[in-house]
Amino acid sequence: MGTVHARSMDSFPMSGRDLGVHPDDVDVMEAGQETKQEILENKDVVVQHVNISGLGRTKEDYLGFEISDVFTARNLVEVMRKSHEARQKLLHLGIFKDVEVVIDISEGADALPNGLDVTFDVTELKRLTGSYNTMVGNNEGSMVLGIKLPNMCGRGERLTFQFSYGTKETSYGFSFFKPQPGYYQRNFTLNLYKVTGQFPWSSLRETDRGVSTELNFPLWRTDHTLKWEGVWRELGCLARSASFAVREESGHTLKSALSHTMAVDTRNSSILPRRGALLRISQELAGYTGGDASFLKEDFEVQLNKPFLWGSVLSASLWGGMLFPIGGQTTSIADRFYLGGPTSVRGFGMYSIGPQSEGDFLGGGAYWAGGLHLYTPLPFRSTRGGLADLFRTHFFLNAGNLCNLNYGEGPRAHLQKLAECIRWSYGAGIILRLGNIARLELNYCIPMGVQSGDRICDGVQFGAGIRFL
């Protein structure tokens, strides 16, 4: 038996976000392999040695868990599959540029007749890598310069420095990332950052300087994030003409908050999913660990996607959140919720729904928003794949409300308040998917239920962002 290069087995799915394969394409693989399996399945083999060659600064013990599964393979197909899985795991660690798998018959004194040796030939990333990219966030573009030290101490540690110069904000951040050896999904992150943002809908400028530590871990089928954040926030007016209500919020505050996020994501893609559901629940408790902002904030997001007729997808989503002030304090404008714009309730101006003063939106203590979408592929497209695959047309119906609640009243009164003066809109548009992280939308919107003070965008509205209702 000769040498089998597993590198060409690319018909196996690659999972993980940074590998550049669209999870959309996952379901094409199974067909071609049935025949090969019949022949090779019965040949018993024993994996005797698993080697990793090409290691420089990476500590060998860090990789043990990723490759140990290969030993359990009992026949050739299994060996190939497990090796391929191990290769994916190794690539997923983000410390190797390339991993090649070589499967060969065992040689040497202790070699068994049906023994196999598996060798992973890895190429490590450079000690220092730089990157330059442009980013699209929620209605804002920025240029990001980054310096990264991957695998700093040989066990997957990563130190990142980012400097971003944007159309509206300039910011920088240091980040240190450390995964648990053998359990990449369980990891720890430490961040130091300064972020400056301008929010013209509130005539507000905010500069945040902060420290945060984050613990990520999967639990059963859910992903959890525990986070502590200490942030010094400096608020100021964008212009002399800012409303007095915003002027009153100016100055320095210190927020120290513990937060927990739980997410279950079974979608096949985060931008234009065809099936699957997302549930994300997060809560933030500020003030308990110091600082001068005290509140409890609850937020949730649900999204369901179902394939519909002729390749179209039916999608429904619901967002909601509440902010409870603690200890009789009023909440800061920087902590409240905002709603409206091309990424949430379409047909309204960016964050231009709800309480306002002299044209400056002040945000609210409670909100909900729901959306119903029908995504269809572009008409008249010739073949699957190609440029047309990045586009979708969609028809949507959005609704939502944002208001302040009087917490002395009961839940009935709250629900009633949230059901009053509902803003909604409907329309249609074209979506362009940018990689697997962002999307652009060009919509024709018809806003309804407009309340006095709301800023609307009747007609064509353009939006770019990473999170969509």
Binding site: W232, L235, G236, C237, R240, F244, R247, E248, S250, G251, H252, L254, G290, G291, D292, E358
Partner: protein, 273 residues
């Protein structure tokens, strides 16, 4: 005041009358405000009282950051916000309230020169003592300035402020001075003011002007504020006509006003020694 700001103030002050709800914002009176801000605030209040314009005083811990110029005090009148004495005088004038209309050009130039003297000498000396004298800075200025903030922001902000003031002192050449030299400057400034005042009731005889408001604001605050040492107040006390000037303005514009309107909202004023 810059030309642009002057134009802006006169432009925004439309012909609307002075509203009853006009409010002056300053830092917290008991725990936070410092000598220099307190003096500036009292000067503005005195000016508005001399004009007969009602104002409510509101204390806010973030008054400094609410102010469009970053300096206290500022007033919120109608939907306009104006900070510091100079622009406020212009603003009141645009609304038809002026104290210096009766002066001729020479007198007006003289008044402006004396106001500059007070700002350059007294105000700078106050800032110097607050932030550059180590014992005053550590015992009074930093704890008071940072009182509304949580740890560790209180230290960050108070040192940041101290650094800013020291940088300014460097720029104007005061950094090399010692405390004695600063007291001497204050003394000289008071000497000049005392000579100009002479035996008149106000700097320009019978009629009070914004200069009177400014001088009263600073001298009265210096006399009534407890600092690390009494040296600064002693320098002012050496000039008896300035003392009686302070007493007179206090009697006329604060005591009598309060007696008249004892039932209504209590207007804030500097406390007596």
């Amino acid at each position: 005041m810059s030309l642009a700001a002057e134009a802006f103030v006169s432009q925004i002050a439309a012909a609307e009358p002075w509203p009853e709800s006009a409010t002056l914002y300053q830092p917290l009176k008991e725990d936070q405000i410092l000598l220099s801000d307190s003096a500036s605030s009292l000067a503005v209040q005195t000016f508005l009282r001399m004009c007969g314009l009602p104002i409510q005083v509101t204390c806010r811990p973030n008054a400094e950051y609410m102010s469009p110029s970053g300096k206290v005090p500022f007033i919120h009148v109608g939907n306009q916000v104006v900070s510091e004495l100079g622009p406020i005088v212009q603003f009141a004038k645009a609304k038809g309230n002026s104290l210096s209309d009766g002066l001729d050009d020479v007198q007006r130039a003289e008044m402006k020169a004396y106001m500059e003297l007070v700002n350059n000498m007294l105000l700078t000396a106050e800032l110097y003592i607050q932030w550059c004298d180590d014992s005053t800075a550590s015992e009074i200025s930093r704890p008071r300035y940072s009182s509304p903030y949580a740890w560790p922001l209180n230290h960050v902000l108070s040192y940041q402020k101290q650094w800013e003031v020291r940088k300014k002192m460097n720029a104007i050449g005061w950094a090399g001075k010692n405390l004695e030299q600063v007291y001497e400057d204050v003394s000289q400034c008071c000497q000049a003011l005392s000579q100009r005042l002479g035996t008149q009731p106000y700097f320009f005889n019978k009629q009070p002007t914004e200069l009177d408001a400014l001088v009263f604001g600073h001298l009265f605050t210096i006399l009534t504020t407890q600092l690390a040492s009494d040296d600064l107040a002693e320098k002012v006390k050496a000039f008896s006509n300035l003392l009686s000037f302070c007493h007179r303005i206090e009697q006329t514009y604060f005591k009598e006003h309060d007696r008249e309107s004892s039932g209504s909202s209590r207007h804030s004023k500097g406390s007596l020694p």
